[in-house]
């Protein structure tokens, strides 16, 4: 029974942390930004809308790609260019980008297809090319699975009126779930991810930049070493945010919600992404990674079912914690205007159990597969190429395994 009390106490602690996360999300979204689209800074002067280069690294077909890209062609902003950057002429996204360019002939859209092997991070390779061709002093990095509203660019650019601001990122919500994988993904985006990002921003004042939307001044980026400085880093978004902060620049989390469209994900894709992200956080946070387990009260409340007898009390506790989590996730969904069907929230405990199980993998493996490439992830998420030496003798494999582990 002591084991049960131990895990029950941890789960209750986790629930308390979760309540704080909900509070953080609420306060972040309800915050009246002096830079909200409706107001100018303290109504003192009209904002200056400097021209912006939107860099769109494309690789493969994301769900809803056509609409995602099209949403950037109707932005309510005086002057901006869109650069679709690809590494391969045969990439299926190339055809979609061309269709978008044809559909919006009056927009300043460029499609750049250029192979770049400067670094190991394929997104940075793609961005290096786009950056080279960008012509405006501000750049907005935007992932291809993001769909925005017309007022998005104005809403985030207002923060740039303050010269102390170095980077603006956004709160993200997962939308459009049509398969089990995408339901779980969007549940996780709209609970753990949004909760953690807002919690770090509001309570710990730590920048937690998610690379789906990053607005920067070119000169600021160059001061921290440009994209070359993160060319071999997996968590390039987080590291850029950290470097900006180190240089005394403010990193702002805009409460303008942007949509991450996840429609037809399989369970494997969901697990693969969160195992990768887990490895990334383990390498970045070290011991802090263990606190994540506390943020999963459902998993903690289910552990006594394994370690001690499944009594009515143990079961009832797990069910009550799961119900509280369902209600909490539903509430976050409501305040972020997520489009998840209310019935899907009942899958939230299942999602937490899966996440809890896969939480352990980063402790034992530092190999990742990202967009078809295999890497070894080291300290601060620095990537090295994964060399498959399956044919080598067991001694060679053993030594390289040890090397990789301590990379």
């Amino acid at each position: 029974m002591e084991i049960f009390y131990f895990f029950a106490a941890l789960a209750l602690l986790g629930l308390a942390a979760y309540v704080l996360q909900i509070w953080a999300v609420r306060s972040c979204l309800m915050r009246k930004e002096s830079c909200s689209p409706q107001s100018t800074i303290a109504n003192q002067r009209l904002p200056e809308w400097h021209p912006v280069s939107i860099l769109k690294p494309l690789k493969g077909l994301d769900d809803n790609l056509f609409d995602n890209l099209a949403s950037f062609c109707t932005l309510d902003y005086p002057q901006y260019e869109i650069i679709f950057s690809l590494q391969d002429w045969n990439d299926p996204a190339h055809k979609v980008a061309r269709k978008i360019k044809d559909k919006y002939p009056d927009k300043d859209i460029s499609i750049i297809v250029e192979r770049c092997n400067t670094g190991l991070n394929p997104k940075i390779n793609n961005l290096l090319t786009a950056y080279k061709y960008s012509k405006y002093p501000y750049i907005l990095i935007s992932d291809s699975n993001v769909m925005v509203e017309d007022g998005y660019l104005k809403a985030i650019f207002r923060h740039m009126q303050n010269s102390d601001v170095g980077l603006v990122s956004n709160v993200i919500r997962g939308v459009r779930s049509r398969s089990i994988g995408s339901i779980l993904e969007n549940l996780h985006m709209n609970s753990f991810i949004v909760g953690s990002v807002c919690f770090l921003d509001r309570f710990l004042k730590m920048p937690c930049v998610v690379g789906k939307s990053m607005l920067m001044k070119k000169s600021d980026l160059e001061e921290i070493g440009g994209f070359e400085a993160v060319k071999d880093v997996l968590a390039e978004d987080y590291v850029i945010g950290k470097k900006m902060q180190k240089r005394g620049k403010k990193v702002i989390l805009s409460n303008h919600l942007i949509n991450n469209v996840n429609e037809y994900w399989g369970l494997k894709k969901f697990i693969n992404r969160h195992t990768r992200w887990g490895k990334l956080r383990w390498k970045l946070g070290g011991a802090k990674y263990f606190s994540e387990l506390l943020g999963n009260p459902v998993f903690l409340s289910c552990l006594p079912l394994i370690f001690c007898e499944a009594t009515t009390a143990v079961l009832a506790f797990a069910v009550i914690v799961s119900l509280i989590k369902i209600i909490g996730d539903f509430y976050i969904g409501r305040i972020t205007n997520a489009d998840l069907n209310p019935i899907f929230y009942t899958l939230s405990p299942l999602k937490d159990l899966i996440i809890g199980i896969f939480w352990f993998i980063p402790l034992f493996s530092n190999k990742i597969v990202w967009r078809g490439n295999k890497y070894i992830i080291g300290k601060d998420t620095i990537l090295t190429e994964y060399k498959n030496n399956r044919d080598a003798s067991w001694r060679v494999r053993f030594v390289s395994m040890i090397r990789e582990r301590f990379a």
């Binding site: 077909l61 790609l65 056509f66 299926p92 055809k95 269709k99 037809y264």
Partner: protein, 229 residues
């Protein structure tokens, strides 16, 4: 080159995706031409009767509604994605023996064609409607339950009616079509979202139904590609 798929099923028969979602799925992926081809199953045997009972077939009763829905969606697809959507059906003659079974795509169909007609009647009716006749998965496939060998076994008799043969269907490639030098196209036989990633046809012609049909019939400027993410 136009990226095309002429073999797509929706919830009008045994597809798992609704018509509107299927159109969006292909539109979002940048396709230029697609044909919606739900099954019209023969009702003259127990397998066919079961399919009708389970509503896995377009029937004479709902054919007009089916075509009207495709036309509405075709207009939307053109306006939004500049994607040409052509109405079609897959005449499905299922029998217990794979040697007796045949599936035939009728592309750009205008009036209902019952699957229980004999082969000549079906082909002639399709020709009368100026529709395209395609032999589906005509040889052995990786999934034995999908084998439909009748047209291939009787090619000497029926090849003259067939405008093109599927040289590739989803993951299968039929080299016999190439060896016989028959006109060819490649399709996904789309039933589920994952089937988007499969064999496709590339056509070098204008984006109109007439040009597409002519290009397939002439079988010049036709290429096949495996569409992968």
């Amino acid at each position: 080159m136009l990226l095309c798929d002429f073999h797509i099923h929706t919830k009008y028969s045994d597809g798992s995706v609704e018509l509107r979602r299927a159109i969006d799925l292909f539109g979002q992926a940048g396709f230029d031409v697609i044909a919606i081809t739900d099954h019209v199953v023969n009702g003259d045997n127990s397998i066919g009767k079961l399919a009708h009972k389970l509503r896995l077939s377009v029937t004479a009763k709902n054919f007009d509604e089916y075509i009207a829905s495709i036309k509405d969606e075709a207009e939307r697809a053109w306006n939004k994605y500049e994607m040409l959507v052509i109405p079609g059906v897959e005449i499905t003659k299922n029998h217990l023996s794979t040697d007796k079974s045949a599936h035939i795509l009728i592309i750009d169909i205008k009036e209902f064609i019952p699957a229980c007609l004999n082969y000549e009647q079906i082909f002639l009716e399709a020709k009368r409607q100026d529709a395209l006749v395609i032999a589906c998965h005509p040889h052995h496939t990786s999934d034995i339950s999908r084998d439909t060998l009748f047209l291939w076994n009787n090619r000497d008799k029926y090849a003259k009616y067939i405008d093109a043969w599927e040289i590739a269907n989803r993951d299968d490639v039929f080299n016999v079509i190439s060896l016989k030098k028959f006109p060819y196209i490649a399709n996904s036989d789309f039933h589920r979202t994952r089937h988007l990633y499969s064999w496709k046809t590339l056509l070098n012609c204008d984006k109109t139904a007439a040009s597409v049909k002519q290009c397939i019939k002439n079988n010049k400027g036709v290429a096949i590609t495996i569409f992968r993410n």
